[in-house]
């Protein structure tokens, strides 16, 4: 029998997480101010009894809004019931996606600046490689991770690589939902998972929410692992995001 004394436990732990940042990059430096309309909507919902678990993929109305917003940005029309899952934020979106894809030991091909997630990839047992180093005739599988902020021309090339290989494509659109800006880069409908955060919506920083969207075959396991990890996203966070998206839609229209 191996007797694990507390000091062993301490040294093993320290070694395991040495590469991870103590507080992460997600602690916002600026004071948080919530839009009064969001406070009112969240307060009304909570006092009306919205204090329970939501359904595990999230509030249906919020999932529908996200699907609509993605279509406006040029994404495929994802089914809100089977193709969209609400998460606690961009980071959780990526984490539950990696769990759902069961990619331990696989290669993750990173495109553009993915440095903020490099330690997460390694912690999850993935081996990161720069997509620029991939041979043209490389037919291996694994994961492509890319961020929307990269140049359009680069995205075209990466989408071509995905369409010609067995890679699963994870496209992080960050805070694109909530902007009326540039369309999304090309998406390979049956192999691209779109992830993003919603806490950059105006006045929504106190809540934290995100999403994962894609074809049902890829989203099903992600939904299972989201439920296993945190059951569902906080109800007020979802209500706040829905309120912010509604307000934005009114502005746009």
């Amino acid at each position: 029998m191996i007797v694990l004394e507390p000091f062993d436990f301490a040294s093993r732990l320290a070694g395991r997480v040495a590469e991870l940042e103590p507080q992460g990059a997600s602690a916002a430096p600026a004071p948080v101010v919530v839009a009064p309309a969001i406070v009112a909507a969240v307060g009304e919902a909570l006092l009306g009894g919205e204090t329970h678990y939501t359904s595990r993929p999230g509030l249906p109305a919020l999932r529908a809004r996200i699907a609509e917003a993605l279509v406006r940005l040029g994404a495929p029309a994802y089914d809100p019931d089977t193709g969209v899952v609400i998460t606690a934020g961009e980071r959780e979106s990526l984490f539950v996606t990696l769990l759902g894809l069961r990619v331990r030991g696989a290669s993750v091909w990173t495109a553009g600046d993915s440095s903020r997630y490099a330690s997460l990839f390694r912690f999850m047992g993935l081996t990161p490689h720069d997509i620029a180093a991939r041979e043209p005739n490389d037919g291996s599988g694994g994961l492509l991770y890319r961020e929307r902020a990269a140049a359009a021309r680069a995205h075209e090339e990466w989408s071509r690589i995905v369409s010609e290989s067995p890679l699963v494509d994870v496209l992080n659109v960050a805070g694109a939902i909530g902007s009326s800006g540039a369309p999304l880069p090309p998406i390979v409908p049956d192999r691209t998972i779109v992830i993003g955060g919603l806490d950059r919506l105006p006045g929504d920083a106190a809540f934290g929410a995100g999403f994962v969207a894609g074809p049902p075959a890829l989203i099903g396991p992600v939904r299972t692992w989201k439920q296993a990890f945190s059951i569902c996203t906080a109800a007020p966070s979802q209500r706040a995001a829905l309120t912010a998206l509604d307000a934005q839609e009114k502005e746009i229209s």
Partner: protein, 389 residues
């Protein structure tokens, strides 16, 4: 860490969700399934939290708001006489389930044995399996109300690195009394086990019982992680606030992992938790009285129907033996739901061998529980008649 599919845990969880989703398609269903209190979060808690908004407010570090950690430390000191350093020994999580996952990711290496009582809530399995751990069941017995016993632990202690104690238990409601907790802790310490003590139902114990915190047992402070949260105590499942308390080196590691995989618990939810802890505690006592009454109604009703059950010492579940009705629990529950409109969870969603049991949640008013018992009575009457025929 491993992302191997959590076969057993996932199947068990899906079994419960499939019944919940079936229930959503039916009308007039009495829900005795999911562990989500039917009462809403008390309005004074929500109003107190809302008073702090729209802000400006300080953002939350990943470890959680200092004021919330301080309030938790005060509570431990006040109620348990146990000192926690809020700076180094507490992490606020986005619900207790996330806390469980973070703990497994921090402590479990692929192949490590994790000792868990059987039966148990299947999310433990999923968290263990996600970290690449190996589940080591510790059997429990009906004769001891399915409590984890020190002797059973001693038999298997050499097979694991960690022990999870869920006290009171989900799904059985069994409460391990303080002297037995100390005996379990003693076995764990002598065997070199780390312990995770899930104490989320600690405010709901009955018949004068109490939850002995494992971390307060001799020699356990440096090898115990306490897992708890606000969902059950304050009826705020939807807010998703939990916490981990443990050695500073563990909290530092779990915080780093949380920073990588999810970030801080939502700021708003943390303010609701602060309001809950710092405000009057009468709602907690009121919830306790409510569940005490419901427990009595259900126990008396099951006894009258001749359905055996284990003595629930805490939590809001009753673990009942339906084996004599001749249907495996999943089918029993499906027929009870579709034919009689009562949702409860099959025992096999808490471990493969428990197909002779059901978990009944006390999450409806007493009148509804009475109606559910009537429906159950008619249902088992039909089953008995069919068996006679």
């Amino acid at each position: 860490m491993s992302a191997q599919i959590a076969a057993g845990g996932e199947q068990a969880t899906e079994l419960r969700y499939s019944l919940m989703e079936l229930a959503e398609t039916l009308t007039d269903v009495i829900l005795l399934g999911r562990g989500d209190p039917d009462m809403h979060t008390p309005p004074p808690i929500i109003e107190a939290a809302l008073a702090g908004f729209p802000g400006p407010l300080d953002p939350s570090p990943v470890q959680g708001l200092p004021r919330l950690r301080q309030a938790i430390a005060h509570r431990y000191q006040r109620e348990k006489g146990f000192d926690l350093d809020p700076e180094r020994e507490i992490l606020i999580t986005t619900g207790a389930q996330e806390g469980l996952f973070l703990t497994m990711l921090a402590l479990v290496d692929p192949g490590d044995g994790v000792l868990v009582p059987d039966p148990r809530y299947s999310s433990y399995d999923q968290a263990i399996e996600a970290a690449g751990g190996r589940i080591v069941d510790i059997p429990t017995r009906a004769a001891r109300d399915f409590r984890l016993e020190p002797e059973a632990l001693a038999d298997r202690a050499s097979q694991g690195k960690l022990l999870i104690l869920i006290n009171p238990s989900n799904p059985t409601g069994s409460l391990v009394p303080p002297d037995e907790v100390r005996a379990i802790a003693d076995v764990a310490r002598r065997s070199g086990l780390l312990m995770i003590s899930d104490e989320i139902y600690e405010s709901l114990v009955f018949d004068g019982g109490r939850v002995q915190s494992v971390a307060a047992c001799d020699g356990m402070r440096d090898r115990t992680v306490t897992l708890s949260g606000f969902s059950k105590t304050y009826a705020m499942t939807g807010l998703r606030v939990g916490y981990l308390a443990g050695p500073a080196v563990f909290i530092d590691a779990a915080t780093r992992i949380k920073a990588a995989v999810s970030g801080p618990c939502p700021l708003f939810s943390q303010h609701v938790a602060i309001a809950a802890l710092e405000g009057p505690q009468e709602p907690v006592r009121a919830f306790h009285r409510v569940f005490e009454g419901r427990r009595r109604v259900m126990m008396e009703g099951l006894a009258a129907l001749g359905i055996p059950f284990s003595q629930p010492g805490g939590g809001f579940y009753i673990w009942a033996d339906i084996s004599k009705f001749g249907l495996p629990a999943p089918e029993f529950c499906r027929q009870l739901l579709t034919g009689s409109r009562v949702l409860m969870f099959p025992g096999s969603s808490f471990g493969r061998q428990w197909s002779g049991y059901v978990r009944i949640s006390l999450l409806q008013p007493e009148a509804k529980l009475g109606e559910a018992l009537e429906r159950i009575g008619r249902f088992i009457g039909t089953l008995k008649a069919e068996r006679r025929a």
